[in-house]
């Protein structure tokens, strides 16, 4: 890999951030000041770093949920729906069996979250493999269906009778995950380790096993894979199931690790940010982890903008994310830069 290609994501992030910060100039803020607030609020103290990692945890899961199908030539934009149902399943198990003892309890709830996400993602996988329906459209549609199902379950089946908020009852005490004490009051919890282990396992599966090799073969060329005796449909369904499972595990971080219950709309679009995470991380586990921390930091950092600046609010995080996506994914931009270089021109 050439040097420029290797550091491409890094340049893209810097360019995207710079563009986004320049916009704050129009709001009458100094971009430099905004950057300082961002950095300080994301990494300034143990608590801040803990919050950054807290937001990064679900993003590792959703980043993997986009990355795995990518290797099979699929685009999963259904992580949002998959994580919703995963979280709902974790909460349901915790409510129906409140007396389950630790550590069996979180294990079962985690399994339920993984399975719910996997089953939900199996639908677009199967539709693509056997009916030829494009997974981009079906996953978008299923996001809305999942939101409807979750809303029904929360308001009618598992409703917390003591609250006006749209949320379920709390899970049993045996289900709760410990917060990592090092980070003070930040709700970052052992689900972070689960996310890191999941990323490692995904890496091992994709690059060190026959199944993973077959899955990637389908992504690199369906015809060639068929000739080699691989069933592309089967691999696509498998890829979607694994992806949905990963997204479902967000439920472990949120329900067992933070909220103790399922709250409607708890996710600030973790599923969609997962697309950016996978893209920036080049669909590799380590890259996904690094990108998740970056986007987690953006999320945490921009929250403090509400207080620390006059005119710029946390909405800046969406603008920054969008611009980073653009600079990372604009293929033509990079080939143009490379061409400029080989022609001896200036950048």
């Amino acid at each position: 890999m050439k040097f420029l290609e290797r550091i491409q994501p890094l340049i893209a992030v810097i360019v995207g951030l710079a563009l986004g910060l320049l916009i704050t100039q129009f709001a009458g803020e100094s971009p430099w000041h905004v950057l300082k607030v961002l950095a300080g609020s994301a990494f300034g103290s143990r608590y801040d770093i803990g919050m950054t990692l807290f937001y990064a945890t679900p993003l590792i899961f959703t980043g993997l949920a986009v990355a795995i199908p990518f290797h099979a030539g699929l685009f999963n934009i259904g992580a949002e729906g998959q994580l919703t149902l995963g979280a709902l399943a974790a909460a349901a198990v915790g409510i129906w069996f409140p007396n389950a003892p630790w550590p069996l309890a979180p294990l079962f709830a985690g399994l339920a979250a993984f399975s719910a996400g996997a089953l939900w993602a199996a639908i677009p996988g199967w539709l693509r493999a056997r009916r030829g329906s494009h997974e981009v459209i079906t996953t978008i549609m299923l996001n809305f269906v999942a939101a409807g199902v979750a809303s029904y379950a929360t308001l009618y089946l598992l409703k917390n009778p003591d609250s006006q908020n749209p949320e379920t009852m709390a899970v049993g005490a045996g289900y709760l995950l410990e917060h990592i004490k090092f980070f003070g009051d930040a709700p970052v919890n052992s689900a972070l380790f689960l996310a890191l282990i999941a990323a490692a396992l995904v890496g091992v599966f994709l690059w060190r096993t026959v199944g993973g090799f077959q899955l990637r073969a389908v992504g690199q060329g369906e015809q060639a894979a068929k000739t080699a005796g691989i069933d592309p449909g089967k691999m696509r369904i498998l890829a979607m199931c694994l992806a949905g499972g990963m997204a479902g595990l967000v439920g472990v971080a949120e329900v067992l690790g933070n909220a103790t219950r399922f709250k409607l709309g708890f996710s600030p679009d973790y599923g969609f940010i997962g697309i950016a995470v996978a893209l920036l991380g080049r669909n590799k586990p380590l890259g996904v982890i690094a990108a998740a921390v970056l986007f987690g930091a953006l999320h945490k950092g921009t929250i403090d903008l509400d207080l620390e600046t006059e005119n710029v609010t946390r909405d800046l995080s969406l603008i920054l994310q969008a611009l980073i996506i653009v600079t990372v994914s604009a293929d033509g931009l990079w080939s143009w830069m490379r061409k400029a270089k080989t022609n001896g021109g200036t950048l």
Partner: protein, 288 residues
Amino acid sequence: MEVIASMLRVATPLLFAALGGMVSERAGVVNIALEGMMLIGAFAGAAVAYTTQSPWLGAGAAMLAGVFIAAFYGLIVIQLRANQIIGGTAINMLAAGLTPFLSKIFFDVTGNTPSLPMEARFQYAPMIAAWVLVIGAWFWLKYTPSGTWVRFAGEKPEALESAGVRVNRVRWISVLISGCLAGLGGASLSIFLASSFSRNMTAGRGFMALAALIFGRWMPIPTAIACLLFGFADAAQIRLQGVVLWGAEPVPVQFIQILPYLATILVLAGFVGQSRAPKSLGLPFKKG
């Protein structure tokens, strides 16, 4: 009668956005950015309608804003050949972040614009305009040369290029039209159905328009009918909230809410009818 009237009203933003999406997708450019284009249009429309007290200027501003954001989308996915799904996601995020950011600058409130008086809102005009556009789009795609170019840009771009028409130029114009219509769709939310812009007010209607477009098999008249059906589901859902029809429990409106999306999946899967996308949808065109 009342239900039909509210169905027609609710379907209006969907019609504009779905027609916009149709133009870009028939030309071969996926448009999941409809949601963001609508949101920008809704903001620009309400902001200018409030400032000038004229709904017409508001609608004009919404179209301009839609064209502007569509130009950014075109730059990313046509010129810089970014993946169209990723580019669309970026546009949606950008719109979701930019609208509250701008409302804070212009009106010093995050996420809202001031409430519009009756004179600064539309009564019927967008509803009528939408249906005129449906007929116009049908005629244009079927019977005019430029409509044919759009269809070829999405089906057989190579053939179009060898016939001497620049594919990427056709796609560019289609994407800009798409943004213009989606912006108008957004404006009909904020200055026709509602009386101000509010944070994330499109609430998935861009995606619902996309669903209607697929349900309508990328054709103007069936797409318009799909918009009506989905508009009906939306109107019924609002009306039935908390209503007890049978037994003791109110009707779970969630099941009505998800109907359009379920129906679209069924159509896409070929269980009910068959829906086929333009052949070169989603593929960047690079001259050989």
